[in-house]
Symmetry: C2
Subunit: 247 residues, 2 copies
């Protein structure tokens, strides 16, 4: 695939001396990514060695559904969304990925075309690992294969949960569910990373208006408070009950 409309696409170049410095910094970063966490320093450096860094401006399409794909991407800075896009423009958000998250494994594993679009929601810097390089490394570092299995398992559980909620829950129930999913596990007052109603709506297959009404309802019931786009969960138990089928 050619990167479509690569606004802000800036392949980095380093002179020999700064190169090794950069390698170290990239290896440091990879060490914080779950996929590579088990690796020794030297292995981290070999992975760092096969990365290329690309920058993408907000709104840039990084991969498109249907494209042949042969690279794995790791978010180093910024944020991207994984979306299905209908011909009439409607979007379903399958995931929002932040620093340390990665995407593109599926095409890398099975060689089939990209299954979704990935679009930068903020100016982002991504590490790109091409299939041949990555596979060669993984063959020498089987821990990474295992970490991949763990990650795919996590996503599959999440996807199945989403399917269940789409079928079994009404919109307020699904809103409760995303809120809980994005809540920090803190004790009495739990915070949620800010999200616009529009984004929530696209994550749960609902309209912005209905999400808005559900959020108002939850505030009226005293289940949560909102101050400057920042949601605080007051009554976690009530929300959990609302997010369970069979109202």
């Amino acid at each position: 695939m050619q990167h479509p409309s690569p606004a802000g696409h800036v392949p980095l170049r380093f002179a020999a001396p700064s190169m090794s410095v950069s390698l170290d910094r990239i290896a440091d970063f990879l060490g914080t990514v779950p996929l590579f966490r088990e690796l020794e320093r030297t292995s981290l450096r070999s992975f760092a060695d096969i990365t290329r860094e690309h920058k993408y401006g907000k709104g840039t399409v990084i991969v498109s559904e249907g494209d042949p794909g042969d690279a794995l991407y790791v978010v180093r800075t910024g944020e991207v969304k994984v979306v299905l896009v209908a011909e009439d423009g409607r979007e379903v958000i399958l995931g929002v990925l932040g620093v340390g998250d990665h995407f593109g494994e599926l095409s890398l594993i099975d060689g089939r075309p990209r299954s979704a679009h990935v679009i930068a929601t903020a100016t982002s810097s991504l590490l790109v690992l091409r299939r041949a390089d990555f596979r060669r490394q993984v063959e020498q570092q089987p821990q990474v294969g295992w970490a991949l299995l763990m990650e795919l398992s996590r996503r599959l559980r999440q996807a199945d949960g989403t399917i269940g909620s789409l079928v079994l829950l009404d919109v307020p129930g699904r809103v409760a569910r995303v809120l809980l999913e994005h809540a920090t596990p803190g004790a009495p007052a739990t915070l949620v990373k800010p999200m616009t109603h529009q984004v929530m709506a696209q994550m749960i297959g609902a309209s912005r208006e209905t999400v808005s009404r559900a959020m108002s309802e939850f505030q009226d019931k005293g289940w949560l408070t909102v101050a400057r786009r920042q949601v605080t969960i007051v009554d976690r138990v009530a929300l959990e009950a609302r997010a369970r089928p069979a109202i």
Copy 2:
């Protein structure tokens, strides 16, 4: 986990001579399963060696959501369904597994509880591989790890597709989609694996009645014919168009 209500649960026992015969037959069977297809004869036998065979009567719950899980199951004969069950009894069918399919990998990989119920839809015989045994074998046969990645990739793509269809398509669109997904492009005509409307409804999150109406509509339009529960797709192109968002 203890197998819940193991009606028809009959662990097989063999005397020493017939044992090796059985091992060979099981190894033969495993060789037809994609997960183990790449393996040599001797490796197949080592996997066969760590299996136990269990039988389950129709309707038996094989694993329950929430149970701790430490085994992988391969369907040797029969059929099982993977379902989410709401407290009010409604069911979402995540998948129907036949001979050669397997389930239970997720708990085996990440050690977390079962994410869904698995229920026998026909009298079934399953090969059970326990986590410790399986992991030990996989460490010596990395091809199996790769095959697992392929399988999880396939399921993740399918799950994402299902999420997209739940959000973007109306019920007739989703009906068209399952039909196409279960169609085998035979020479004279494309046949669809027989399914009751009730099952289709639970697969796509709709009511039986609405599925019934959609099927009638498709027959009226001449897109398919039904004879004795056997669906034949006449106009595949029309169905594909109907299964695309943005009518």
